[in-house]
């Protein structure tokens, strides 16, 4: 990710840690929610990696605002040759969602059915669950609203784009959970020692570190293949979403175990992140879905696996 963009986004998110509306407004003002708007519609012509970088940073603070959804929605609209509207945009990919995330505060919703797309006016009826409240899924709003525009996308990109964006958000949240847990383990004294002095705790932290590293490497490799003018590399996306989902399970489990009861409270910031990890890993295809897609493609050929893997590159 570009260093200046990264600094700007990180500063905004840190400055408005407990004020999601202000964070949204500052990100939007700086164009950070519109990095995937095409140049024909006034976009900046940045590489796709920049938008994934913003999604990752927003994921690291579990920002309750549709940053990722707006990024995705504007890419889909551009792909269909439509002008992305200003403001908050959410998405509804038919067949993959039960409701519209942040629909109750969205100015618009991009409704995708296969390669067709409709832009609806928001906000939508229903309640967005927010963070720290039941149910786990925040996609609680019903899909209604008048149609503003319709179009067709050149490529079938909605699912892989949304899945890879969730993987980016997860990688941010994974790193944040690791940092939070290390900080806690350094401070928490039991038996007269900090938790970090216990080898059992060090080993759990090391496993968390390994998972974060693996998820991040798979994400970077998939992001490097992203191209505005081509369909997604489905295999790279599948691997990234699978690896982030696998890491999410292990990292969240260890983090809660190390934190003990305090991490299980609504007040403490851990669950804000782990709830998102548990939700995002199931959004737009969970590990089994993407592993199934990878496996089916490989088994279909009835040829050795390795030449396929080697040809797909590392």
């Amino acid at each position: 990710m570009d260093a200046t963009l990264e600094r700007t986004a990180a500063r905004i998110l840190a400055d408005h840690r407990d004020a999601p509306d202000a964070a949204w407004a500052a990100l939007d003002e700086n164009g950070l929610t519109r990095l995937w708007v095409g140049e024909a519609h006034g976009g900046f012509g940045m590489s796709p990696a920049e938008g994934f970088g913003v999604a990752r940073l927003a994921g690291a603070c579990a920002l309750p605002a549709p940053v990722a959804e707006t990024l995705i929605g504007t890419w889909l609209l551009t792909e269909a040759g439509l002008e992305p509207p200003p403001g908050r945009t959410s998405i509804f990919v038919e067949g993959w969602q039960r409701g519209v995330p942040f629909g109750d505060s969205a100015d618009h919703v991009v409704h995708v059915r296969d390669q067709s797309l409709a832009l609806l006016r928001g906000p939508l009826p229903g309640r967005h669950a927010g963070v720290g409240l039941d149910p786990l899924s925040d996609a609680a709003c019903r899909l209604t609203g008048s149609v503003v525009a319709t179009g067709d996308m050149r490529h079938d990109i909605a699912l892989p784009l949304a899945a890879l964006t969730r993987a980016a958000q997860m990688c941010g949240a994974l790193e944040a959970v690791l940092t939070l847990t290390i900080g806690f383990a350094e401070q928490r004294i039991q038996f007269g020692r900090a938790l970090t002095k216990f080898q059992a705790i060090q080993h759990m932290l090391s496993e968390m570190g390994a998972e974060v590293a693996a998820a991040s490497a798979a994400l970077d490799a998939a992001v490097a293949t992203a191209d505005y003018n081509a369909p997604f590399d489905r295999q790279a996306v599948a691997i990234a979403k699978f690896r982030a989902g696998l890491a999410a399970g292990i990292v969240a489990e260890h983090a809660h175990q190390i934190h003990g009861a305090i991490g299980y409270t609504e007040e403490y910031p851990l669950a804000r992140l782990t709830r998102r990890l548990w939700q995002w890993r199931d959004d737009f295809g969970g590990e089994s879905y993407w592993a199934g897609e990878l496996g089916s493609a490989a088994l279909h050929e009835r040829t050795p696996l390795w030449p396929r893997l080697a040809a797909a590159g590392g």
Partner: protein, 381 residues
């Protein structure tokens, strides 16, 4: 953003063409009866004749300068070759350690004479080397080594005992980690040095140790006042620990940490194509591809002169876990059928892998040691 870094490097056309050449060579060798594929081939498959053939193809020491027998090729070219050799289960154990780490150490720390006399022979597949780190009382606690090198009028006198040295029995040289001065108080990493020891010198005894599979690939090596010259000191006196850690990054980050059992999966898929649920195969693909991404990133960083020691530990850790997962998945599939219905060759391979698997999380740093390396990088140790 992350504290670990793995640069992304998509495969180049040159790498792709090299890969096809290696594959064609291996297929021809296999067809001509040149080798039988084996699991864990970088430890178990010793064939000096095969190593010489690879040397003649230019596939050993390929990243080294041309004047030392190499071809000055990028690190990722070597990675392509090693991946294909492991997947094929080719008998590469004789030269593997020399190509992977000893050659690099000599290139970095050796005298000009050592480089000129040893490296071209390694590259030709005619000179083999082994690791001299562990001792009977110094395994995971490597800094507890007691092998000692004492200064003499003409060089050094080396006495002590190294153990678990894979391929020592066919090796020409061993890099020995020895104490050259006492530890400085609590700092046991001080006072250690590396020596490049010619294993034909008098006073050296090498005896094989049979492993649980009945193979003799590792050895105990005894040094009884072996006379070394000043030039046999590798690198700097007292810098042995740091040099060792650099060597371990080469040792831990390669595809031999996640591709040694892949041929079991391929064999089972070929024999029982309908038995594998796509989700199981897909998970293996996703995990191994992530490891390849990480391993390639480390190769690039090593080439750039960086020290991705922790990243290497991560690859070994995740790679070992992947191999155990692969075995358990394949064993589960095979186990759904009565054994009498299963091809004998497949069961033999499964059993061979089972017997080799326990070594993967011991050699090159145990799981527990790697956890410690990673925890230190995270700042909690």
């Amino acid at each position: 953003m992350s504290q670990f870094s793995f640069p992304i490097a998509p495969e180049t056309p040159e790498e792709r063409s090299l890969r096809s050449r290696v594959r064609a060579f291996l297929e021809a060798e296999r067809a001509a009866g040149g080798f039988q594929p084996v699991a864990d081939c970088w430890v178990s498959g010793v064939s000096p004749a095969f190593s010489r053939k690879l040397g003649a193809m230019g596939w050993i020491g390929m990243t080294w300068p041309e004047r030392y027998g190499g071809q000055a090729l990028p690190a990722l070219h070597r990675l392509v070759v090693t991946e294909e050799l492991l997947i094929a289960g080719a008998p590469v154990a004789a030269h593997w350690i020399a190509d992977r780490q000893t050659g690099a150490q000599i290139l970095k720390f050796g005298t000009e004479k050592q480089k000129q006399s040893i490296l071209p022979r390694i590259a030709a597949g005619r000179c083999y080397t082994c690791v001299g780190m562990s001792e009977p009382q110094a395994g995971s606690d490597l800094a507890a080594v007691t092998t000692k090198a004492t200064k003499t009028s003409s060089g050094w006198g080396l006495s002590g005992r190294k153990i678990w040295s894979t391929v020592a029995h066919i090796s020409n040289y061993m890099i020995v980690l020895a104490r050259t001065s006492p530890a400085e108080g609590k700092n046991r990493h001080a006072g250690l040095s590396q020596f490049l020891v010619n294993l034909t010198l008098s006073g050296i005894g090498i005896s094989g140790i049979r492993d649980i599979a009945g193979h003799t690939h590792f050895n105990e090596v005894v040094f009884d006042d072996v006379k070394l010259t000043r030039d046999d000191l590798l690198g700097e006196e007292g810098n042995g620990w740091a040099q060792c850690m650099g060597e371990l990054a080469l040792e831990r980050s390669g595809p031999e940490r996640f591709l040694t059992t892949f041929l079991l999966l391929e064999r089972a898929l070929a024999e029982l194509p309908a038995a594998f649920p796509p989700v199981i195969v897909g998970e293996l693909i996703a995990r191994v591809t992530t490891l390849r991404i990480m391993s390639r990133g480390i190769a690039l960083r090593l080439q750039a002169g960086e020290h991705p020691d922790t990243e290497a530990a991560l690859v070994k850790q995740l790679g070992n876990a992947f191999e155990k997962h692969l075995f358990s998945a394949v064993r589960g599939i095979i186990g759904a059928y009565p054994e009498a219905q299963m091809p004998a060759g497949l069961l033999r391979l499964r059993d061979e892998v089972q017997l080799r698997l326990p070594a993967s999380t011991l050699r090159g740093g145990t799981t527990e040691i790697l956890h410690g390396v990673i925890a230190r990088q995270l700042g909690v140790r």
